[in-house]
């Protein structure tokens, strides 16, 4: 069985976001790039399935500028077997990205068993790619997955919904599973594995190899803005009793939120 993991490289969570002077995108200068945290769970889950199923292979796929090869290497160092890099512009939307991923997977051998993704990428936070990919591949999907019970023809997923509730969803294979924090603890790459990863194969596609054109871009982000700086807030002083009383009054009478 071949297991695919679609991952995205994103700015480290510590990043202070700056904008380009024309507000058409963020200023990517000086950014430290990392694998989107939810994708780490996806890679880990794929590796665990492989370890339980002799003869399986884990292939990592990432679409983006050349820098994302670094992110593929990180997954290879965790233990994935090979990588596919799809060169698409930084500004590609979810639709173009998902179509490129789908078309790359369609070129692969037919024995796709599972496709893992993170539940969302923490840059645009759209949480669209796994479902779009499912749509383009004709696979079922389960999003925000906290646990998977693997069977031969199907899997049972615990899917997080609102208010601390969850659903148990059974799906036929092949399927797309989008991982949520809590599903596993991602492993760290060891030094020998980092060395080994350097020799693993990474295949590259251009958008033209995959039949992707400008028309596959369905939305565009524009007019980037930083949140307006907040006015200095009011400090509530006094002993705890006075503070509590004054704060309650301010929330009620001034902010009118109670």
């Amino acid at each position: 069985m071949n297991i695919y993991v679609c991952i995205k490289q994103v700015p480290d969570t510590e990043t202070k976001i700056k904008l380009k002077p024309d507000f058409t995108w963020i200023d990517t200068g000086g950014i430290k790039w990392v694998m989107s945290p939810f994708d780490e769970y996806a890679v880990e889950e794929a590796l665990r399935v492989k370890e339980k199923n002799a003869g399986s292979t884990v292939i990592v796929v990432s679409a983006g500028p050349t820098r994302v090869i670094e992110c593929i290497r990180t997954a290879l160092a965790m233990g994935a077997d090979s990588g596919i890099h799809i060169e698409i512009p930084e500004t590609a939307d979810n639709n173009m990205t998902a179509k490129a991923l789908a078309n790359a997977l369609k070129k692969e051998p037919a024995n796709i068993g599972l496709v893992f993704t993170g539940k969302e990428a923490i840059d645009d936070g759209s949480a669209q790619v796994s479902q779009l990919l499912a749509g383009f591949l004709g696979f079922p999907y389960v999003s925000v997955v906290l646990n998977v019970e693997y069977g031969a023809q199907s899997v049972k997923c615990k899917r997080e919904i609102e208010g601390g509730a969850y659903e148990i969803v059974e799906t036929a294979l092949p399927a797309i599973i989008a991982t949520q924090k809590g599903i596993n603890e991602p492993r760290y790459a060891t030094l020998p594995n980092i060395m080994k990863a350097k020799k693993k194969e990474i295949k590259t596609y251009k958008t033209s190899d995959l039949g992707i054109s400008e028309g596959d871009q369905k939305i565009k982000f524009k007019n980037f803005e930083l949140p307006p700086p907040k006015q200095a807030g009011k400090k509530v002083s006094g002993d705890p009793a006075a503070q509590a009383k004054e704060l309650a009054r301010l929330l009620h009478e001034e902010a009118k939120v109670i």
């Binding site: 969570t13 990043t15 963020i26 796994s130 749509g135 369905k218 704060l247 009054r249």
Partner: protein
């Protein structure tokens, strides 16, 4: 006049407040507003959709719709879109809406703007803004190409309207054969808490590492209960096992915009601020006057949360009881 289709969301036979927010947005634009409602035995809810301004309601009822499932909702919503031929389709960015709307976009070959926090409709033009980098910036979304404009709107981000009552809606039943599905929801396991979800609640009271134990979160819960608020937590509190990950607020937790956010003993790390800085009114209670949380707080209390929080609860209770 254009047409807007709102995807109504119900759970356990109750419509979500976010559905009314969407209906408000749609009706205020002067367009013809229809809604699609899916479920099993939910026809009683059409009245409420009517009161909030839907003039036609596509009603899809089936035993298999007892539980939400992406596959059956996609089939139903696609059929409603086919019949209504809307210019704009709106859903809530809830665990439900965010799950099936991208699939709808894939099937229609159109773009979807997800998790929008600002939305305006003039004519049939949908103008939305949404956060990126977990709220460290926002962007406007431009739709390219043809076809209906799809958007999911974050709960609580746009105000809820008052019901407009005096009008009647046409109810249009749609029957669909739900066969050949590849996924099945076997069961729903309820959370053990009656409290609202952090991502949907109009108020959130959050605690950090400084709470020191899961038991100590009781004072946070008691304050939350007075306000009808959800309980949130910093990642440090979640990693320490004081709260479940579903309560985590921040870049790798939930991004929230409640009317009131009270941060108790939370330092205000960049990843936490990303998840809550768009809240309308922010209160910080922290012993350290230099804590970065004070930079985004509308009201700052420099003090010990263990002293202030229980007293605040009592003061707010008094106001509530008046």
């Amino acid at each position: 006049m254009g047409k807007i289709l709102v995807i109504a969301e119900q759970r356990d036979g109750k419509l979500k407040k976010s559905t009314f927010e969407l209906l408000g947005l749609a009706t205020q634009s002067g367009n013809e507003t229809s809604a699609v409602l899916l479920g099993d035995g939910v026809s009683g809810l059409t009245k409420e959709l009517e009161q909030y301004g839907a003039t036609s309601i596509y009603l899809i009822q089936d035993a298999s719709l007892k539980f939400y499932s992406a596959e059956s909702y996609t089939l139903g919503v696609l059929e409603a879109i086919k019949q209504a031929s809307p210019d704009i389709v709106l859903a809530s960015h809830s665990p439900t809406g965010r799950d099936f709307m991208p699939k709808i976009a894939a099937c229609l070959g159109v773009g979807l703007a997800s998790d929008c926090t600002q939305a305006q409709i003039s004519g049939v033009n949908l103008k939305v803004r949404r956060p990126v980098y977990a709220g460290k910036a926002t962007v406007e979304v431009e739709f390219l190409g043809q076809g209906p404009r799809l958007a999911t709107i974050r709960p609580n981000a746009i105000g809820a309207p008052k019901p407009i009552s005096a009008q009647t809606a046409k109810v249009i039943p749609i029957s669909i054969q739900f066969t050949g599905l590849k996924t099945k929801v076997i069961e729903i396991v309820k959370g053990n808490s009656a409290r609202p979800d952090v991502a949907e609640a109009p108020a959130v009271v959050s605690g950090g590492r400084s709470l020191k134990s899961a038991e100590n979160f009781k004072i946070i819960e008691e304050l939350a209960d007075v306000l009808g608020a959800a309980v949130g937590a910093s990642r440090a509190a979640v990693d320490a096992g004081y709260r479940a990950h579903r309560d985590q607020v921040g870049q790798t937790g939930k991004v929230v915009s409640p009317v009131l956010y009270i941060a108790c003993g939370i330092s205000g790390a960049i990843q936490h601020l990303a998840g809550m800085r768009t809240s309308k009114c922010i209160v910080a209670i922290n012993t350290d006057p230099e804590a970065p949380i004070f930079q985004v707080a509308d009201y700052g209390v420099i003090g010990d949360l263990f002293a202030v929080v229980p007293l605040l609860k009592e003061e707010l209770k008094k106001i509530k009881e008046h």
